[in-house]
Symmetry: D2
Subunit: 297 residues, 4 copies
């Protein structure tokens, strides 16, 4: 009884852009992927829900775009909840642990208690191996030396290979009394698997919560590895709901939040009264952010 069985006729609304890639994996990292399994709704479904709530009618695609922009700008988030997407994702466990912190989603993950896990692990490319930043607790500084990069990759690779070999060995321990029950329980054999091991899950979420997830995990502060996934998700959003995608980029991704003090600083600058960090009331980090966003040519 297959979940998807090629072309079907439906009375439901469709999203042309997603239909074209349904079920096809987008590659991520060395062994990962994201695959759209199913979806509900499209840009028009958001417009329709807004019409219900706010009595806002629209008649053309350009009016739809304006309405979706208005909803995005004014935090009228509930109409975006009316679209839903289901993805099949293969990802390293340490990425999965960041990902699952976003609770407003439905998840079915491969269980290492029920199944023998494939022994595949994520090995970072040399270019990702950098020194720890001293200023930014979650940041990277310059690249390791080429020898160090090779040394790190070698450690990661050989450790993973050794653990995977022991995993297989534990799962094969012979049971002298009952050969049909060979092997240590799967639930304990797996406990030394490294966090770089790939896992898989079905992950289902509504569009509002997906955009919230993306806004947090597409920033430069997010770890590179999860960003490789969220960039693919952003591309999927673009294919699925292009008007919402454009509004999201305009108002959220490439927009900014200003504090009360920052607003006052900008007002003063525009009024022709230049100011310094010390006078501004902003701390150094905030001042630096402001300068970069508004003053650099």
């Amino acid at each position: 009884m297959p979940e998807t069985s090629g072309s079907n006729i439906t009375q439901r609304a469709i999203a042309e852009g997603l239909e074209a890639c349904l079920g096809k994996p987008f590659s991520v990292l060395d062994h990962g992927f994201v695959r759209v399994v199913d979806y509900m709704g499209n840009d028009a479904a958001i417009v329709q829900a807004a019409r219900v709530s706010y009595g806002l009618g629209t008649k053309s695609v350009s009016e739809d775009a304006g309405l979706i922009n208005y909803l995005m700008m004014n935090a009228h988030t509930s109409p975006f909840e009316m679209c839903e997407i289901k993805l099949h994702v293969k990802l390293p466990i340490f990425v999965a642990r960041q990902w699952i912190r976003h609770r407003m989603a439905n998840v079915n993950e491969v269980s290492g208690r029920y199944s023998v896990l494939p022994t595949e692990h994520y090995l970072p490319e040399a270019a990702q191996l950098c020194y720890q930043s001293a200023r930014n607790k979650q940041g990277k500084s310059t690249s390791l030396s080429p020898e160090q990069q090779e040394q790190v990759q070698e450690m990661l690779r050989t450790d993973a290979v050794q653990i995977f070999a022991h995993y297989a060995e534990m799962l094969a321990l012979p049971n002298a009394e009952n050969a049909s029950e060979n092997g240590l329980t799967r639930e304990l054999a797996r406990i030394n698997l490294p966090l770089s091991t790939y896992t898989e899950w079905y992950w289902k979420i509504d569009l509002h919560n997906l955009l919230h997830f993306l806004s947090l995990r597409l920033t430069p502060h997010a770890q590179y590895e999860i960003r490789t996934y969220t960039e693919v998700l952003l591309d999927i959003v673009k294919r699925w709901v292009p008007l919402t995608y454009a509004a999201f980029v305009e108002h959220r991704l490439e927009g900014a939040r200003l504090s009360k003090t920052a607003i006052e600083v900008i007002r003063r600058i525009i009024a022709g009264a230049p100011t310094t960090q010390e006078e501004s009331g902003l701390n150094k980090r905030e001042w630096e952010n402001l300068r970069r966003a508004f003053l650099d040519v």
Copy 2:
């Protein structure tokens, strides 16, 4: 830009039974309805999600049914979250207030701040008008007398008509200075509308949470009016995911929960040692429930 536009070709899985009634209103009460706007997934999607999590393969519809029964029986609820449904519902406000207590759903409701509300109200049929039960704080006793029933309907009807007339009057108050801004603000004109006034919403929920909602609002303890809706929802579940429907009826709707003490009582009875309420350790209500479920012929 219509949300649904007749037949489309899709690569997604479909649910035959729902396609046939998509968009068509099922009537409820005197002016209400439930209409399926969209859905995602089917019985096979649940099986597929279980296969991901538990490595449980199936090959036939009968194996699918067995697996879905197993999931339902063992509270493996996450695979049921992989299906989603979106409904358009018209319902009295007092029913909406019970309904919205179920938080794990997405809602877009008509807003009386943005729109002038249609002046339709729910008027109970005479048969629903009963005396308050003295024993059951939420229950009904025998029917009012026919005269009382008529009297109640008359009060409900005339009060609603009068309030609706005043609502229209407030919305039409002439603005001597600006005729384009006639009328009291909609947000205040509506505050005396009765709880029996019909409202509408789009309501989207996953199958697991829908079944939980149904299990709470299909019992005899639920108010008659919301039960008229949940009975329609149950019929929709049957069309959508027939295997899940059967498992839900078998294990939840027509199943029972037994306390530790009740289990012991049944063990004793089966062992041939009849017992009384006093000896049983059950209070009167529990004893009565047990008797009705297991002992009555």
Copy 3:
């Protein structure tokens, strides 16, 4: 078995500012109130949770303030979830219906099925009675004429009085066969009560979700009546977690969100290249907002 029984000794952290007003009602509107029933945590609990997650230590109140500002500014919301508050609120039903749209909370509301509801209703003061704005679907324009204000209040008052009288009458309908079961069922007698009727609930929420609720319901777009409640809640937040309150005002309440295009417009203005709405790429509403926030003296 009283829930609160005066002074107790506890090993838990306390919030001095809240202890002083625990259990005391803050009046709202004509018959409503907000009362703090219980709470968990304080500013230090947020700092402690951040220390767990980010290994960020602090040693003084000024460092605590800086850390809380940093968390607020960077959407590190989870430490704010570590504080919880429980309120007892009395509010008109139409306000309760807006309020309950915020789902991430726990609620116990008085039930009109179980209890006879007190017949108190909200009557807006004359000053609140304005014409509907033609430009803003949820907004108010100028005041009604004094005669119209009186007329509206009269309609609201007499309708409520009449419905309440009928409510009492239905609840008292004599049962000729069983005087202990007099009256129409409460669950139906209440269905014509107006939306202005007061209800009560216990409402419990974590601080992060409370701030989110406040950021949406403290804006000028929120209806006046719910704003009278959220202003009291904001004052309670100030007493409870003063450092968080200050950061919330600075970064959220009196801050602003800028779109990508708005950022570019400000950059151009600062660079000395004044622009018009037409050239800016902003629509009229966005341009107006920008002008008001940054350009007006």
Copy 4:
């Protein structure tokens, strides 16, 4: 600014049983613990919330117990949401991954991006090392031989030691150009840490959701390691809300769910018409469960 600072005076309700152990760690497994950091509410808070919702008054502890039993039995879950608890837990990552599937909670976990993680891992005792069950995909069969147990422990121990040594080595890689930025980024150095590594978090949840978590993770089907934690949590519940604890054990933990068919089988047996599995309509597993629960002496 300490979160907890010894004895404080509060106007809040307290739970005597929890005060006595607040802040003190309960040991779990070889290096783990559970520690109550804070709490809100007690049995009386549940009664009070029920009184609000259902107008149910009580006057004595025995009436409180009856009311709490009634709520538990009838799935009136919202009053239990009015209590909240915050725990500090140290647990192996593979346990944390099962635990975090329960989404209705607030979490602040130590981050391996921000902090260097302590290199402690869970090593199962020999007695836990069993063969994989052939019949139960998540179950254990008989014990490994003593030699195999030693062999497994040796593999787990030496692999963990080696990975931890490499973790330290990667974190210490010298930066020739900037000694203050020695070491591979923490976010990548940690990716090969084993799932048995201990992590820590603050975890906050309401009582209803805690009981739901316990009902799922206290069963024999839950993995032994997470059960060692849930048993401690159950003991904490007993100290915190003893009446709720008793009702939970009676109606949930040691109660049972019966399907429609199982009810019919029991009715037939009681009516004196013994039946076999084949005739019963139950499958083998269901029949076995029924037999064990009701028929065995």
